[in-house]
Amino acid sequence: MNWCLYLALKQLFPTGKKFSFFSTMSILGVALGVMVLFIVQSVMNGFQHEIRQSIVDMQGEVRVDANSNIIHNANGLSTFLKNQPEVVAVAHYAYGIVMLKYNNRPSFPIIKGIDLENEIKVVELRKFIKNGNIQDFDCESIILSSELANQIGARVGNSVEIYSPIMFEIAQSDEIVLPKTLKVVAIYETGYRQSDENIAIVTLDTLQDLYGLSEGIHGISLKLKPNIRPEKFVFELNKNLTPPIHAMSWQEMNKDLLFVLKTEKTMMFFVLVFILLVAAFSITSSMTISVVRKTHEMGLINALGGTIRQCAACFMIQGFIIGIIGSMIGIAFGMVLLKFRNNIISIFVKLCGVEDFMLKFYSFAQMPATYTLGDILKVIVFAVTICCLAGMLPAKKVAKIKPAEALRNE
């Protein structure tokens, strides 16, 4: 073993001592920082993953539309899209804003017309049904988002009235307009606010009727084969589509939200890095004191044949070792805490009495958390780099030691 590494290890873990106070505190400081960073990153990843999954499950991976224009020859486009080797399923849709009324409580939701048989091949609508039964869905029924149902006070089995813009146009010519009455057969909730807020789902035929679209649609949702990257597929597909018809990936449709999520994760990382910086400062301070205490020892090692540069390297190596061991312990503790996170949270929630609030606000049954090897490596590399930098300052101080002066220092 290289003597610098040997001496660094011995200075951290001296022979004959069960543990060194300085080493233990330094390692625990780094472990704590790494653990918090790792847990928060994993939970952020988990939330991001859940939200992204909700979006994909509810919107589909790719949409082809005509910039809000009506696509009249939908079957031709649909056949072309189905023939793409990357595509598993396609589903037509149309949408618009209507006035929805229940018990004299009006609302103006976006109403989406879907072909249920194909839609469920593209999106996981059934997964999000909170109340009711999707099997009952037909031309005389409607599915409401949870927020919308709450807002107007409608429940499964109630009937709601729908007024479309065409009906208002007819009303202007003094004709009597009767609203379309639809029965609420299901209420869905994705946990993603944008999807849950103000949306109602009817059959495509009903929407075409309400909006006078005839056979026209607004777009086609696509489900791709596993491991196909939507952005790449969309890029290639758009080369073969004639404007205004164009394809958009779910990432492009939700780029603002994805940007916010990414920024949020970066900001959390940035804030939590300060825990590691505090640990690094305490390492630097302890090591600098150690340099002053060991000045004579540095001179002695120099007399025995070591160079001052090698002595300085010892302190750098100490920082590295603290970083590696601290990171490993931090990651290990982090993994254990993540494994039992739901038990810990349920205790915490009960103690603080915020159970309802948590469920209402986050709407995830369990706290999501995911991590990859890449995440672990990123945290470790970061922590080790900070610890090496922490060792650099005392090392620089050592490098300035003059051997003969150090030997006179007792």
């Binding site: 003597w3 040997y6 001496l7 011995k10 200075q11 001296p14 022979t15 004959g16 004579h296 020892e297 001179g299 002695l300 090692i301 120099n302 007399a303 025995l304 044949g305 070591g306 160079t307 540069r309 003059k402 051997p403 003969a404 002066e405 030997l407 006179r408 007792e410």
Partner: protein, 229 residues
């Protein structure tokens, strides 16, 4: 060509315009024993530091085996220092994080890998200084005399050509000092090392083949002084 291992020629050393050494020339040969006496602050330690290239002279030349050291890089100097010199200081000789055997083997670790033969040699040396069985002892639990004996053994581990002992008995009582000094001399004799002893003790100085006195920045041989007197 002379047969000095290390030779100093016209060495001058100043600290902030205070002259510490002036025109000092001397050398040490194979198996030679030399003592340097002088008052505290006379520059004895500075002189051996210059000899070991631990600090540069203000003027003068240092030769290691007839070669000017001015051209040597830090790495080469460190390697030569580890192989040629074995140091024993007055105090704080041992590294507190290492036990007795680890301290002894440390200079060996700097120059090469530790072999079983090195451990056996260290144990043999420990027995010679009557510290057999002390291998695993924490150095912080050793007495002053025991620490100096361990330091003497450590100085020997690389079988150096010169042992530099800078007041090795300065912090010990008379009885312990005599024992330690005899042990250092015997070790040097046994393993063929030269000995350069810095001491205040005239008795120890007289045990050396050649004795010098450092006074008023000048180094003078003791018999010359006596003939002058």
């Amino acid at each position: 060509m002379n047969d000095y291992i290390v030779e100093l020629e016209d060495i001058q050393k100043k600290f902030e315009n205070v002259l510490i050494l002036k025109d000092v020339s001397f050398g040490i040969k194979e198996r030679e024993t030399i003592s340097i006496c002088g008052e505290s602050g006379a520059g004895k330690t500075t002189l051996i530091n210059i000899m070991g290239l631990l600090e540069p002279p203000t003027h003068g030349t240092i030769f290691w085996e007839g070669q000017k050291t001015i051209t040597y890089g830090i790495e080469k100097i460190s390697q030569l220092r580890a192989k040629i010199f074995g140091y024993i200081f007055q105090r704080c000789n041992l590294i507190p994080e290492l036990n007795v055997i680890e301290n002894i083997l440390f200079p060996k670790r700097i120059t090469s890998k530790i072999r079983t033969s090195d451990i056996e040699f260290a144990q043999q040396l420990l027995r010679l200084v009557q510290l057999g069985g002390f291998e695993e002892r924490n150095v912080l639990t050793l007495s002053g005399g025991e620490s100096q004996r361990v330091a003497a053994v450590r100085a020997m581990i690389n079988r150096p050509r010169i042992i530099i002992a800078d007041e090795p008995t300065g912090s010990l009582d008379e009885k312990s000092a005599n024992i330690i000094m005899d042990m250092i001399i015997n070790l040097c004799r046994e393993y063929g090392s030269s000995l350069l002893l810095i001491t205040h003790n005239q008795l120890f100085a007289k045990k050396m083949q050649t004795s010098y006195v450092l006074n008023n920045s000048k180094l003078k041989q003791l018999d010359c002084l006596e003939s002058e007197g």
